[in-house]
Symmetry: C2
Subunit: 271 residues, 2 copies
C-alpha cells in the first residue's frame, strides 16, 4: 500500500503523476492519492475579489486565514476544479478513481480552531472566525470499502470538525494521518521542489537521507511549506509508516522515482 | 428506496430538505440525493468574467453551452461549493453523507455530444467545443457499496463520457437514470416551483395527477427547465419507477410532503 500526496504548487506535472500511478495500479499496487490546490486557490480568490490572507503563528508556521467565504472558495478549487481534474485524468487513463473530501463520510475528522494567533509587526494578535482544524481521526472503513471495491481514492482537504463543520486542514498532515491509519509501507510527499534542501533554494544541497532523530535536529533547514511536510513526515514515521520520501512532482515518472529513493528519504533509523 | 433530486434555482430551502432527509434516514429509509447548482453557477461565471451562454435547440430545449472553461466553473460550483455544502449540512445533522460527481467511479456515464445545434435569429447554427453528454449507464455497484456501508450518496453532475472526459449532463435525467438503476419506489424532483402548472406561472393551475399517456400529450404545458423535469419523470416511470412527484423545495418538510403527494404526481396509469 502506497500513499501519495501531491502538492498544489505551480509546476507540478499532473499528467506524469497520473501516468505513473496508472502503471503501478495496473501492476496491482494499492494506492491512495491526496492532493493540494494552493496556487490555484490563490488565483481564484484574487479573481473573485477575496484575496488570500496568510498568518504566521508565534512558532513560525504560515497558514491560510480561512473565514467562511475563503472556505467556500477553497472548496470550489480543492473539491471542485482540482479534485475532479485529478479524477478525470485518472479515468481517462483507465483507473477507476473516486474523489472525496474529508467532509465526505467524515473521512478525516478533528477539532476546529476558531481563533488563530498571528504575529503582525512583532505583536501577537488573536484572529477570530477561522475555519481551520486538526486531523485526529481517519475513517478507514470508507477507504477499505472503496479499495476493496476496486476504486482508487483521491482525497482532498477540507476536513470535518466533530460538530460537522468543514475545516481547512493541512494536506501533508492529512497524508500522514491517512498513511498511518491504513498501515502504508511508504508515504510519498511530492511537490515542486526536489526534497529537503540544507541551503534553500539551492537544489544541489538536497538532503538524501535522514533518520527521525536527525530530522528533529534539522527542522530548522525547512523553509515555508516544507516545514509542514517535514512535520507530516515525522508524524507518519512515528506512527509506524516504514519510509517517507519528500520527492519531486515536476519530473517524468515522479512516483516510481520517489519510490526508488529519489528525493529525501526519511526512515525511523533504529539500526 | 427513495431518490430525491433538488434543483439549483434560487429559493430552495437546503436546511428544510436536509432536516427532512435526516428524519427519514433515521427511520431507516434508504435515500439517494441528487442536486443541481444552476443559479449559483451563473453568479460565479459572471464574477469570473466568463458569463453563461444558453442555447435553444431546434426542438425547443434550452441548455448551457459548456466550453472547457465553463466546465471548470461548473465543477467548481456543482462539485465544490454546492456538493460539499449539502454534505456538510447533512453531516451537521448526523447523517453520514458522501458527495460524488458522475466522474467519480464513472457513476454516470454516457456519450459526449461535442457539437450542439442552436437556433439564433431563426437560423440553425452548429456550435463546436461543447462538453455536454448523455446518461446511458449508472454504476450501481458503487451506490450499493456506499448504501450498504451506511453512507447517504449525494450526487451531482457532471457525468463522464465513455472516453473518460467530464461532460455536463442534466440533473433531472441523472435522477431518472439513478432511480431506474437502483429500482427506486419513488423519485422526487423538487425545485423552486410547486409542480407542473397548466398555466405557468399561475400556481393555482397546479396539475395534481397525471398518467404517462396524459403526460405525453401535455408536454406542451411545461415551460423552461420544467420540460427536462417532465422528460426525466417520463423516463423514470417508463423504466419502472412506481411514482414520480414534481414537488416544491421552498417549503417546510419538502421531502415528506412530496412523498405524501403534494405537487404533481406522475404514475404509469395502467389501472
Amino acid at each position: 500500500m502506497i500513499v501519495v500526496k501531491v502538492g498544489g504548487g505551480d509546476g507540478i506535472d499532473r499528467g506524469a503523476v497520473c501516468s505513473d500511478l496508472a502503471k503501478l495500479w495496473g501492476e496491482g499496487r494499492e494506492v491512495i492519492l491526496i492532493h493540494g490546490a494552493n496556487a490555484e486557490t490563490n488565483r481564484v480568490a484574487e479573481a473573485l475579489g477575496h484575496p488570500p490572507r496568510f498568518v504566521t503563528s508565534p512558532n513560525g508556521m504560515t497558514s491560510r486565514f480561512t473565514d467562511r467565504r475563503t472556505l467556500e472558495i477553497f472548496e470550489m478549487v480543492y473539491c471542485g476544479l482540482v479534485n475532479k481534474g485529478w479524477v478525470e485524468t485518472l479515468q481517462y487513463l483507465g483507473v477507476n478513481a473516486v474523489g472525496l473530501s474529508g467532509i465526505d463520510g467524515r473521512l478525516f475528522e478533528g477539532r476546529r480552531k476558531a481563533t488563530v494567533r498571528s504575529v503582525e509587526k512583532g505583536k501577537v494578535k488573536v484572529l477570530r472566525g477561522d475555519y481551520t482544524g486538526t486531523v485526529d481521526r481517519v475513517n478507514r472503513h470508507l477507504l477499505d470499502l472503496l479499495l476493496g471495491g476496486g476504486y482508487l481514492p483521491v482525497l482532498t482537504p477540507p476536513g470535518v470538525s466533530v460538530d460537522g463543520e468543514a475545516v481547512n486542514v493541512d494536506g501533508d498532515r492529512v497524508a500522514a494521518a491517512v498513511a498511518a491509519a491504513v498501515g502504508a509501507d511508504v508515504l510519498l510527499l511530492l511537490s515542486n521542489v526536489a526534497g529537503l534542501l540544507a541551503r534553500f533554494p539551492d537544489e544541489s544541497s538536497l538532503v538524501r537521507h535522514l533518520t527521525l532523530s536527525e530530522l528533529d535536529q534539522r527542522l530548522g533547514w525547512a523553509q515555508g511549506r516544507m516545514k509542514k511536510k517535514v512535520l507530516g513526515a515525522m508524524e507518519a514515521v512515528q506512527a509506524g509508516v516504514g519510509r517517507v520520501v519528500l520527492g519531486d512532482a515536476r519530473i517524468d515518472r515522479p512516483v516510481s522515482r520517489a519510490l526508488a529513493g529519489k528525493g529525501t528519504v526519511i526512515e525511523c533509523g533504529r539500526e
